[in-house]
Each structure stands twice: as C-alpha cells, then as structure tokens.
Symmetry: C2
Subunit: 161 residues, 2 copies
DNA sequence: GAAATTTCGCTAACCAACTTAGTAAGATCC
DNA sequence: GGATCTTACTAAGTTGGTTAGCGAAATTTC
C-alpha cells in the first residue's frame, strides 16, 4: 500500500488553500450540519423510503396538509408532491381525505403506521438531545438558544438573498 | 377563500398527535437542521450545479482526493462519484491529475474557479456566523461548543446504530 | 518472482424521483 | 355569471443516483 489517503502526493498537487482557520465551535457547527444532512438519508433508507417521504411524514405528523402546501414546505413542485403522497399512501403511512369545505382540496393525514415509522427511528436521538439539554443550567440553555436562533437567522438570510 | 391553511377543517381530520412539547432550544435545533438542509440545495442551484457537486467542491477545497475517497465522503458509489468529477471538470471547477506514486489513482484538484464558486456563495454566511460567535464571551463559547459536539455525538450514534 | 487477490477509476444499463407542461374541477372576484 | 385563480393530478422528459462488471495497477501469498 502506498499510503492510506495520500493528500500531499507532491507539492504540485497541493494547491494553496485560502484556509479558514475556523474556530472550534464553527467547526462543530459544520459537523452538525453535515451529520444533520446525512441522517435523514440514512434513516429514510433504513425505513425503506426516500428522504423526501421521511420529511413529508415529519411535516404531516405535526399537522395535516394538502399536497400543494406540502410541496411548498418540501421545496418541490406540486407534481412531485403528488407522487410523494402516492407513495406514502401505498405504504400505508398516510391517507387522502376530501376537504370538508373545499371540493378541490385533499387533506393528507398520517396513519399510525406512518407516525410510528417517523417517531420510532428518531426517538432515540431526541431522547439523547433532550438529555443533553437537561445537562445545561438555565443560563447555559439561554446561551445555546441564542446561538442557535442566531445561526438560523444567518443561514436564512443567505437563503433569501 | 376558505382559509389560508386550514389545518383543522374538522375534528375528524385532526388526528391526535402524540406531541413532543419540545423545548425552545430543541425547536431551534430542528430549525437549524432544516435550513441547514435547504441551504446547500438552494446555493447549489444558484451556482448551477447539483447539491452533490457543491459538497464535492467543499471537500475538495479542503484537500485533493481521488474519486473513490470522495465517494465515501459523499456517501455515494464510486460510479456516481466518477460522474460528479466529470461534471466538475466539464464546468472547469476541478481537474484530474495522475497520482505520482500509484498508477491506478487519480487526484482531483479544485481549480480557482471552483474555489471561488464555493467560497463566494458561502462566505457571507460564515462571516455572519463568525460575528455571532464573536458576540459570545469565552465561557459562553465553551457552552455552545459543548452543546454542539454533544448534539453531533447524539446524531452520530443514531447514524451508526 | 509468479499467481491470486484487491483496489481504483471507469463504462453501460437501469431506475427512482424530480422537472416542465398542461388538464379538469372547484372557488373566488369583479 | 364569466374571467381568473387555485388545487390536484397525469404525462413526458431530465437528472443523478444504483448495480454489475471490466481493465490496469498494486499488493499479498505461496
């Protein structure tokens, strides 16, 4: 074996990277975002569905929605959302019901199976996170909360810009 | 108009959700993960590439890698990675170079254009985040760091589990 | 040091899940 | 009450992943 991962095979191949010298917490945030992105994919595949379907279940678990509103939240087209709902229904994770007041609309409701699917996979994590939070003093919790909402704001700005 | 988002059209449609009563900071974390997931998609489309390509550029900006190692980090197959590198090269964002010591290997190196692409889009966010962090006292920063690494650990456990 | 095995990067064929485009039905607005 | 908008859907096309498998180079085994 030449080298495990030879990142510096020669000077010529190693370009001058204008490095951030990111602080530890910025690094931790990066890492958090990375696993945060990997996690739904892994969990979804484990549960035999696509990432989008898992997210749809998450949203629908909080409140019943129509396909169009679901599409907006998932940042996909309503055509795609239609297919997502089809697949959820096919797997018994959701049901379509007619909207009582509006003949055009459909209300997508999560079934117990769907809710179990979402909660079952994510509960251990939420438990750990709740514990982690429990280990903080109220003051510390306030600091964390301020940081998190600030980070969300920074990212949202870029999202809109 | 019947209602903006009619979430409770009737009692029959509103299923009994076994609600978390998530704490504020857990909610903030959820939100952070959500925008954290939305952001690469939006930025990538803006830059005219796929999410995977953007992530590839991010990894390659830190260090030059071969397609197989890149694939491992992106959690895709080496076949897919081959295509990712093809597209990056086609857009002038990366170059393939032969590995000096190992005739089988290729080293993928980011070009200036590729680096500009990544940094240009993400810099404003990192700047905001750096500012946010600057507004913390050293003690607070330590708290945040501890929380973030703890959260990463909790999620990583689920990832491996 | 030759043969067997592994690793790397790639191509080909296939497939899942998105997009765009467009339709019909019902609601809303002068 | 006719024009316009909204909702949900279908059909066709595109993108970007997968599995399978190949040749070349490196590594291990005998």
């Amino acid at each position: 074996m030449v080298s495990e991962i030879s990142t510096q095979p020669s000077e010529a191949l190693q370009t001058a990277v204008p490095r951030w010298r990111p602080s530890r917490s910025l690094e931790a945030l990066q890492e958090l975002l990375d696993v945060g992105e990997a996690l739904p994919e892994v969990v979804a595949r484990r549960a035999g569905m696509s990432t989008t379907e898992l997210h749809a279940l998450r949203h629908l678990s909080a409140e019943a929605l129509g396909p169009v509103e679901l599409a907006r939240r998932l940042r996909i087209t309503s055509a795609a959302s239609s297919g997502v709902v089809d697949r959820l229904v096919a797997h018994g994770h959701a049901e379509r019901r007619p909207h009582p007041d509006d003949g055009r609309r459909t209300v997508v409701v999560v079934t117990d199976s769907g809710r179990a699917e979402v909660i079952g996979w994510l509960r251990p994590m939420f438990q750990s996170l709740a514990e982690l939070e429990g280990s903080l003093t109220p003051d510390e919790r306030a600091v964390v909360e301020r940081y998190l909402t600030g980070a969300v704001e920074a990212m949202r700005t870029l999202l809109r810009g």
